[in-house]
Symmetry: C2
Subunit: 235 residues, 2 copies
Amino acid sequence: MTQAIVALSGGIDSTTVLAYVLQKYGEPVQCVSFTYGSKHNQYENEAARQVASYYKQPLMEIDLSAIMASFKSDLLKSGGKIPEGHYADANMSKTVVPARNIIFASILAGVAWSNDVPIVALGIHAGDHVIYSDCRPAFFYAMNRAILYGTEKVRLKAPFLNVDKGSIINWGLLNEVPYHLTRTCYKDQPVACGLCGSCQERLEAFVLNHVQDPIQYEAQNGPTENTVSYSRTTP
Amino acid sequence: MTQAIVALSGGIDSTTVLAYVLQKYGEPVQCVSFTYGSKHNQYENEAARQVASYYKQPLMEIDLSAIMASFKSDLLKSGGKIPEGHYADANMSKTVVPARNIIFASILAGVAWSNDVPIVALGIHAGDHVIYSDCRPAFFYAMNRAILYGTEKVRLKAPFLNVDKGSIINWGLLNEVPYHLTRTCYKDQPVACGLCGSCQERLEAFVLNHVQDPIQYEAQNGPTENTVSYSRTTP
């Protein structure tokens, strides 16, 4: 009997959610990754496969690229260049994908209902709140009710809803989450750039934990202990 | 500038919603139909094309059949036989498609966001409340909030949320809605069966309006003025 479904992008947050859900609810946990046309999609999907395989949990891959092909976002292959700079900077808002989490949560609710799984867990967290409206608590609680009322049995969970990435990694390091397998960079290249907002946020979060990020970066001028202040990650 | 998006299945309710939305908000209205693996999908999609063409509004067709292929429902090609009998009977609950309206509303929210359309209108109505949890007011209001908070600009509308099908048709007849083009039957056959719950509910609604349903039926023993009581359509 599947205990929960986890939306697994292969990034830091969803990988840590998977570890957390496995601890809290037991196995098996059905992992689901989405293809939706983002520039880094093939790399994050590969990371999701490696993470699911590491934890020995089943992975379902759902292709939404045809449906979301006309959506407008610089995160998508159809959009402009990935902006560089801090994650919370105004230009990162160009990487918002319209209704992405609404759509992911809805489809996972249908998969959960069809397979009698009571829980769908998402990796949304406090660091997303500034930029992504469909990661904020107000959205999450309304969506949770919509799915519960609409299915009469499935509940959304977001264990890190109000936790920032530094604290997520803190929990993950204590619980041996395989961050060396994860993918965070938004750019269409195999090695993480180190310059886009997503890379910057990740690097800062490791610095705050006084731990070296185990993945490789193209640029060597990322955040350091001297340039990161705690306040920047909790805007 | 597109005024609204209407989920147009080609049935009575969504066709009447399209007419209502065109009157209330003006044109153009973007119609969207979904392919999701139901037995009557090709017939309702064709009806949607004819209705959109009648009103001279653009129609977008979205294919979810791969995504919803594993979903469990007798409405789907993968499921059991379409049950016959009254729409509100217990066996009609086998035609519930897991999270269908949650998924449709979510995708339409993404299309609306991407194209700066402020409104997404659904044809859910009071007759659906008994069977379909994702047609009830509690679901609708939560979903409306989830989409508004998640997109910061798109609102769901359900003009007939608390209106039964008899009253929907009453409005539609006064406003010359082309019911001869619509498709309601759940079965995999070109001519409506007249026996499934969906046909029965439609036939009753026309009887309550003292009007002959303009479409053809295979079975001739549908509801009549003598067998229909108003209370049956408002359980």
